[in-house]
């Protein structure tokens, strides 16, 4: 990877928070570094309190790094003008709730320097894009959390930025809401935008991100392509069987080195992918039913837990 054309560069950023009273400041970011490349969805992953939001605030110029350096599109993050090309969705965004969806987007369009001619069209287009056309003229006070999140995404996009920063875009949403936001993010990538996304929800990362950096306690523990993480080790599959005869479990365990969990005549087991055919045949032959077969990939979760464990050890 060529670091020179990175869209976002973070180099050894340190952030100390000084409490309002008292002298001892607390180090929240311990010199983190990473790059985000053009056109990718980058996942910034870590447990709560790891420093994701803090990093993002440094990038958005809301707080100053105590040490280190960060650039977006080659510009120091303390500058203002380049934000023309940057969109930001904060964690749990709040907007003036006495405005309507249309008004708030128009407000942000003005701030972003969208020409007055183009403003109205752009706002309508965006409302449509995030699926809020129907509620466009209702006050934000009446919006659901999912709708607000979509307003948040819309305001981040109002000036057609090149790179979009999303802080926990899916947190607090119901499954349908999460799916909608996921789809929006994928559409952003399809439109060629670079997406930087903080989250602690790992399945989302697996599903969306091209690359991830794992941050734990203010330090980046792993960084790399998502597939590379997930490709490690031999593929396995999870099977759920029903009406299994009493002697079958022991047999499967012995023959295929399956790990088992069973209650009554129902059996859940994990085997290596190459044994799936054999296990199914054995089951059906013994008169059992197959309920489901799911390929199992090494989850980010295990990597993640491993990273957290590691950091607590040292």
């Amino acid at each position: 990877m060529d670091a020179a054309d990175a869209i976002v560069r973070v180099e050894n950023v340190v952030k100390d928070f000084r409490p309002s009273f008292g002298l001892r400041s607390r180090r929240v970011l311990h010199g983190i570094s990473f790059d985000v490349q053009d056109g990718e969805i980058f996942g910034f992953v870590g447990p709560n309190g790891a420093g994701k939001t803090t990093t993002l605030k440094v990038l958005m110029g809301l707080i100053r790094a105590s040490q280190g350096h960060a650039t977006i599109l080659g510009c120091d993050v303390r500058e203002t003008a380049f934000r023309q090309h940057v969109g930001f969705l904060p964690e749990n965004p709040y907007f003036y709730d006495y405005l309507t969806g249309r008004e708030i987007l128009s407000f942000y369009a003005k701030l972003s320097g969208v020409a007055s001619r183009a403003r109205e069209g752009r706002v309508s287009e965006l409302l449509d894009w995030v699926g809020l056309s129907a509620a466009a003229d209702a006050r934000l006070r009446t919006y659901s959390k999912g709708m607000l999140q979509r307003v948040g995404i819309a305001q981040a996009l109002v000036h057609e930025p090149k790179v979009v920063f999303l802080d926990e875009p899916m947190s607090g949403l119901d499954p349908i809401g999460r799916k909608e936001i996921r789809d929006l993010i994928l559409r952003l990538r399809d439109e060629g935008k670079t997406v930087f996304m903080c989250t602690h929800i790992l399945p989302d990362v697996e599903m969306l991100c091209d690359r991830v950096a794992i941050i734990v306690e203010g330090r980046v523990r792993h960084a790399g392509a998502t597939d590379a993480f997930l490709g490690e080790g031999e593929p396995e599959a999870d099977l759920v069987l029903a009406a299994v005869p009493a002697d079958l479990p022991a047999q499967l365990e012995e023959l295929y080195a399956a790990s088992l969990r069973g209650h009554g005549d129902r059996l859940e087991l994990r085997v290596r992918e190459k044994f799936v055919q054999d296990v199914l045949q054995a089951t059906l032959g013994a008169g059992g039913h197959v309920v489901s077969v799911t390929p199992h990939r090494t989850s980010l979760e295990s990597i993640f837990l491993h990273a957290v464990e590691e950091s607590s050890r040292c």
Binding site: K57, G61, I63, R64, R83, V86, F88, P90, Y96, S112
Partner: protein, 258 residues
């Protein structure tokens, strides 16, 4: 430099938000009530009751005007930070100075709106009681508007780094002291200690000389008011306000929104 569009966008939204505040209307209601009460009060005097009515009404405008200025002024930035609306706003290509000036302009407009309502009420009670209103009154109202804008700027400065409660104390303090400095200076100059005299003079120079914005007595008595009585304080006030806002910007620029 500042972008007019962005400043105007922040300002108009600030007005829109501020006029929704109930406290504002409560204060306005008190002001109007006090003016009406002035009619009763002034009838206690068998002479010069129109003058007393106008004195009371002017005082009501001043007190509640300042109360409104402090109230909206100190909440200026705090509300935006507290509700984290500032995050999305400042992530736009908008400098913090533009944000601050926009908020300030919006609040000043709001306060001038309130002042206009109070002026209308003043005219109402004056007409009701046959008290005369002349050019002196217009001058007094304009200067009051200048004083209130300056107070908002003081509140802006304090609220750029402090909590609303502390800011309101500080701002009220500056307001009181600003009306006191001329007398303080005079007392200092009369004292035996050269040091005290010098301190008084410097206090008068440093703090806003708010008494120069007070034409109440001149207006009510119809005393002659020169053009310089009006434009000098206005120029002074505008310059002082700019200084305060620049200082506020310096502080605000360095601030972490966490």
């Amino acid at each position: 430099m500042l972008s007019a569009i962005r400043v105007a966008a922040i300002a108009s939204n600030t007005v829109r938000e501020a006029v929704r505040s109930r406290v504002l209307y409560v204060l306005l209601f008190f002001a109007v009530t006090l003016m009406l009460f002035g009619i009763v009060l002034s009838s206690l005097s068998y002479v010069e009751s129109e003058r007393i009515l106008q004195d009371v009404a002017m005082a009501a405008m001043r007190v509640f005007g300042v109360a409104i200025a402090i109230f909206v002024g100190v909440n200026l930035i705090h509300k935006e930070v507290d509700r984290r609306t500032v995050y999305t706003i400042l992530s736009k290509p908008l400098t913090r100075a533009e944000f601050l000036f926009g908020k300030f302009a919006g609040l000043v407009l709001t306060i001038w709106l309130q002042l206009a309502i109070m002026v209308a009420c003043f005219m109402g009670v004056s007409a009701l009681t046959g008290a005369e209103v002349g050019a002196g009154h217009a001058a007094a109202f304009v200067l009051l508007g200048g004083e209130l804008a300056l107070i908002v700027a003081v509140a802006t400065l304090f609220s750029s780094f402090s909590t609303p409660l502390l800011s309101s104390f500080f701002t009220a303090g500056v307001w009181l002291a600003g009306h006191l400095t001329r007398d303080l200076r005079d007392v200092g100059l009369r004292s035996n200690s050269e040091w005290v005299g010098e301190a008084g003079v410097w206090l008068h120079r440093m703090l806003p000389d708010l008494q120069s914005f007070n034409l109440t007595i001149e207006a009510v008595h119809g005393l002659p008011v020169t053009a310089a009585d009006v434009w000098l304080p206005l120029v002074y006030g505008a310059a002082y306000t700019t200084l305060l806002l620049l200082a506020a910007t310096l502080i605000f620029d360095r601030r972490d929104f966490r």
